[in-house]
Structures are given as structure tokens and as C-alpha cells.
């Protein structure tokens, strides 16, 4: 009796450990079975096996070319939005006038569908990287502005009062009190932005591009190569997931104190 208890415990531990992976494998197997036994044609829903074959049929160097094109634009747009959003938030937090002037404009920019504006941006800025980076930046910077501003405004008022009573200059109040308090908010904004950056890069590639994963997917569908398009799509989601994780890793590495405490 005594021996079964640790065994049961071990089993439970293993199930917990492998559950997400097993669930995923089960889902893929189910998908494969539906496609094979239900005789679903490739152009409606390709089976995982044909997606893998399609993935392997494209040369590795081509995948890398497309990946680099998308990643380059997504990261440039993402960093540009950080460079714009954080100083903008500091300015809006410190000046009521700036807040009143800029906030409506930001909302207008955010509520304009970028897909509709993208062709105009391409006409204005040309078909190279600058226009694609701008399109990406337009999609990514708003969540960052909102989360940074919210974070800085949520600094406990007693801390601000304390810094004022000690006659700390405003830049120290911002850098040493408000920004550290805003770090968790900034990182949640960054996590949203990085996934939006990939979407932004793909939207830009749909409008004008000669390479990139978005272009590759559009291209594959134009030739009705649906398994190949799915392969591109899955590759894109994996990249998106990895970027999301890397933002978490950066937070863990640079600001471990800002993470929520584990139970």
C-alpha cells in the first residue's frame, strides 16, 4: 500500500509535466485522422503530414530569407515604437496639456484600420523597408503608450509626496520612482506589442513586398498551394510565440523583481 502512494504521486507529476505536449500531439493526431479518414481534400484543410511535406519541400535557405525579411521589419517596427512610446508617455504623464492634445490624436491613429491606410503609406514612402516599418509601428505603439502611462500614473501618491518632500528633481522622480513602478505594465504592453509587430509586418507584406513570410503565404495561396500556405502560417505563429517568450525572458533577466510572485 505504501509503495503505491509514491507511484501514484509520480504518475500525477508526470501527467502534469507532459500534459500540454500530449494534448498538442493528440490534437495533431486527431487533425491527421479527420483529414485521412474523412478524405478531406488538401485545398479545404491540409493534413499535418502534407503540411510537413510542404515545409520540407521549400529549401531551408528560402525559409531563412523569408523569415529574416519579416523578422527584420517586425523588430525594427517594435523598437521604433518603444523609442516613440516611452518618451511620449513620460511627456503625457508630466504635462496635462500634452495629454489633452495628444491623447485624442493617438486614439484616432489607433482606431484607423491600418490595413486601409497601408496602401497610402506605400505610395508615400515607397515599397522598401521604411513604409513596412511605419505600418508595423502604427500597430504596435498604442498598447505601449497606454500601458506605460497607466503604469506611471499608478505610482503610490505617498511615494511621490515623499520624493517631493525630499526635494528630488522631477527627472529623478520619473526615473527612480515612476518608471520602476511602471515596469510590470510596460512589459505587459511589450508582450502585446511584439505579437502585434508580427501582424503589422505581415499586413505590410500583403500590400507590397518581394519576400517575407506574409508574402510567402499570399504567394502560396495565389498558386493554390494550401499546405505550403499552412506551413508558412505555422512557422509564423512559432516565431510569434518565441518573440513573446523572449520578452518574458528579458523581463526575468533584467527585472526579476517586477514579476508576480509565484504561489
Amino acid at each position: 500500500m505504501n509503495q503505491t502512494y509514491p507511484f501514484k504521486f509520480w504518475c500525477k507529476q508526470q501527467v502534469n509535466r507532459f500534459a500540454p505536449g500530449l494534448f498538442f500531439i493528440g490534437l495533431v493526431l486527431l487533425w491527421e485522422c479527420i483529414c485521412v479518414f474523412g478524405k478531406v481534400p488538401n485545398y479545404i484543410l491540409p493534413a499535418p503530414s502534407s503540411i510537413i511535406t510542404a515545409f520540407l519541400n521549400v529549401e531551408f535557405s528560402r525559409w531563412m530569407t523569408h523569415l529574416w525579411a519579416t523578422l527584420r521589419v517586425a523588430l525594427m517596427g517594435f523598437f521604433l515604437s518603444i523609442i516613440i512610446a516611452i518618451p511620449l508617455s513620460i511627456g503625457m504623464m508630466r504635462s496635462e496639456l500634452m495629454n489633452r492634445v495628444l491623447y485624442p490624436a493617438l486614439i484616432v491613429i489607433q482606431s484607423t484600420p491600418v490595413v486601409a491606410v497601408a496602401p497610402l503609406i506605400i505610395v508615400l514612402l515607397g515599397t522598401d523597408d521604411p513604409s513596412r516599418v511605419l505600418i508595423t509601428c502604427l500597430i504596435t505603439f498604442f498598447p505601449l503608450v497606454v500601458s506605460t502611462t497607466t503604469g506611471m500614473l499608478e505610482t503610490p501618491p505617498e511615494m511621490i509626496e515623499l520624493s517631493k518632500s525630499l526635494r528630488a528633481p522631477r527627472y529623478r522622480e520619473t526615473w527612480q520612482i515612476r518608471i520602476p513602478y511602471a515596469i510590470p505594465h510596460i512589459f505587459s504592453g511589450l508582450r502585446v506589442s511584439i505579437t502585434l509587430a508580427i501582424i503589422g509586418a505581415v499586413v505590410a507584406e500583403f500590400v507590397a513586398a518581394e519576400e517575407g513570410l506574409g508574402y510567402f503565404i499570399q504567394f502560396s495561396t495565389s498558386f493554390f498551394k494550401i499546405p505550403q500556405a499552412f506551413a508558412g502560417l505555422i512557422f509564423l505563429s512559432i516565431i510569434s510565440l518565441l518573440l513573446f517568450k523572449s520578452v518574458q525572458w528579458v523581463q526575468m533577466w533584467l527585472f526579476p523583481w517586477s514579476l508576480p510572485k509565484k504561489k
Binding site: 481534400p41 521549400v58 518581394e210 502560396s220 498558386f223 493554390f224
Partner: protein
């Protein structure tokens, strides 16, 4: 230090001469690379452009109007696009783009049906469900082709869907017929045969809709500022068109070399299936590479009617420049 200086001078000499030697031309496609877009790739791969000191780069487009805009704003010098789109644009605005060489002398629009559907002619489509894509230029010509066959849009049920979904809709029976360009015939046949079905195309050109379509257009700025370059380009491009349709397999391989994602076999099948859009009774009568005033007038008549424009909104020969026809 001295050797370094010499090397730098030598390197700059090489780069400067190569810049001087080849004239740069940006070619605008109206869609993504594919069989009907092969000539420009063939021109590069077979060295037709290089032989005339041209350094050609290719930009893909997202539809005729997108290509027109890019030529009008100077992002591209010359490119392929639908002449109907140019006519409609010029009738409404002063777009600085003109047509210099006809490519498709017949319209590529067509209905596609399954053989098993029992539909044998356009007349049989009365009361049927027809799927089309939302932004295709074919939609504007649909009422005209239906009128030629004695019925109107009210007699059919028209649904709009993504271009990639059209053939699956027809094959699964969600639509009785679809509207697409005959450039897709090879792809549709491929898809249908994978489930043991057969596709039939019914080109609109067979039922009266006879007009110029995809053409070589150029920005007026390019033609006035660099006429000599333009002339050489048109000459090499015309040669590339001839080569593409004479040797479709080689053309497929050339395109595959530059765009590895494209299957050379599919491209050559596409080229073979659209040869009659490029070389046909019209080119036999009028010669290849020349816009005749009568056919331009006829094309405009269709375009005006399809787009709801007045007949006198455009003097159609104004949009054509026949000065660049290769000798």
C-alpha cells in the same frame, strides 16, 4: 597605404563604369509572379535586357490599380497592367501613364464550371449561383457578357469570395460556376483532378467580349525623360514575349530560377493555356505589338459601359503611345 589607395581607386572605377553601362529600369507587375508574368523574367534570364544595356529589377503588385498608382507616382518606370483599368483611371483623373505595347489582345475573363454540372454554355447559367472575387476587373464586364447572352445580373445569384476559395467552392458544389481569368485554368484543372473531377472553361471572348486587356504601360515621365531606354526596354520585352510563348518550358525554368517558390511545370502549363490570349486572330490581322485605333475604340466602349462612364469622357487613343513599337 599606397596599395590600399590603388585598390580603392580601381574598385570605384569598376563600380562607376558598371553604373554607366547599364540603365536601371524598375518593372511593375500587377500581381504576384506567375505564368502570365513570365516574359520579364525570361528577358532577364535570357539576357535580352542585358544585351541592350538594361538592368531590370521587378516589383510585384497587388492588382491593376495598384500597379498603375506605382507607375504614376514614379516608384516604377514601366509595367504590366490592364488597359481597361488605365482607361477608367484616365477618364476620371489625369494619371500620367500610357500604354505602349499590347500583351493580351483578348480578354482573359471566363466562367469555369464542372463537367458534371451539365452546364454547356453561358446561356445555361441562368438562375445559377456564380462565385467571383470582390476586386477582379471581371466584375465590371459581367453585365455586358450576360447581356450578350440575353439575360442580366438579376437572373443569376452572384456571391463574392476570396480568390483562393473560388475553385474549392465550385468543386464542393457551393457554387455552380465561378468567374476567374483563364490564366488560372491549369491550376483549377490540377485541383479538380485531385478529387477526380473535370473543369470546363467558357471564355467571355468567345461570346462577343473581344477587347485589349493586359498591356505594357509606362509612366509618361519615364518615356519623356529616358525615351532611348524605354525604346530598348520595349524591344527586349517584345522579344521576351515571343520567346516565352515559343518555349514555355524554358520560360517556366527561368521564372523558377528567380522565384524558387514557383513550380516550373505549373508555369509552363499556365503559359501554354493562355497562348491564345497573346497570339490569336487579332495579332494575325493587326500584327504583334501594335494598338489599332478601331480595337482601342472598341475596348473603350466596353470599359465605359462596364464602369458607367460617358462615351466622351475619354479620347481613347490619347492613352496610347505607339512611338515605342519595336521595329
Amino acid at each position: 597605404m599606397k596599395t590600399k589607395l590603388k585598390f580603392t581607386l580601381f574598385a570605384s572605377l569598376i563600380t562607376s563604369t558598371s553604373v554607366m553601362a547599364a540603365d536601371k529600369v524598375t518593372f511593375q507587375l500587377d500581381w504576384l509572379p506567375g505564368g502570365d508574368k513570365a516574359p520579364v523574367y525570361v528577358g532577364i534570364q535570357q539576357g535580352f535586357f542585358e544585351a541592350l544595356d538594361l538592368d531590370v529589377s521587378i516589383a510585384s503588385g497587388r492588382g491593376s490599380t495598384d500597379a498603375l498608382t506605382k507607375m504614376a507616382t514614379g516608384q516604377s518606370d514601366i509595367g504590366s497592367s490592364d488597359i481597361g483599368a488605365l482607361m477608367a483611371a484616365r477618364a476620371q483623373d489625369d494619371v500620367p501613364v500610357v500604354a505602349v505595347l499590347p500583351y493580351f489582345t483578348q480578354a482573359p475573363h471566363a466562367f469555369f464550371v464542372l463537367k458534371s454540372s451539365g452546364i454547356k454554355s453561358i446561356k445555361d447559367l441562368k438562375g445559377k449561383k456564380i462565385a467571383t472575387s470582390p476586386f477582379t476587373s471581371s466584375n465590371a464586364f459581367l453585365p455586358l457578357v450576360l447581356k450578350e447572352n440575353g439575360f442580366s445580373e438579376e437572373d443569376i445569384q452572384l456571391v463574392k469570395s476570396d480568390p483562393g476559395a473560388l475553385a474549392p467552392m465550385m468543386i464542393t458544389g457551393n457554387a455552380d460556376a465561378i468567374i476567374a481569368w483563364v490564366t488560372n485554368t491549369a491550376l483549377f484543372k490540377n485541383q479538380a483532378s485531385s478529387v477526380g473531377k473535370e473543369v470546363i472553361e467558357m471564355p467571355w471572348s468567345d461570346s462577343g467580349l473581344s477587347l485589349y486587356s493586359s498591356s505594357l504601360l509606362a509612366s509618361e515621365k519615364f518615356l519623356t525623360e529616358r525615351p532611348d531606354v524605354a525604346k530598348r526596354f520595349v524591344k527586349a520585352y517584345a522579344k521576351a514575349i515571343q520567346f516565352t510563348y515559343e518555349f514555355p518550358d524554358k520560360a517556366g525554368a527561368d521564372l523558377h530560377k528567380m522565384v524558387p517558390e514557383v513550380d516550373a511545370g505549373i508555369v509552363s502549363a499556365q503559359i501554354k493555356s493562355i497562348t491564345n490570349l497573346v497570339f490569336n486572330d487579332v495579332t494575325e490581322k493587326d500584327g504583334f505589338g501594335y494598338f489599332t485605333p478601331e480595337r482601342i475604340q472598341k475596348t473603350w466602349k466596353y470599359v465605359a459601359e462596364a464602369n458607367g462612364l460617358e462615351d466622351d469622357a475619354l479620347e481613347p487613343m490619347m492613352i496610347v503611345n505607339n512611338d515605342f513599337i519595336p521595329e
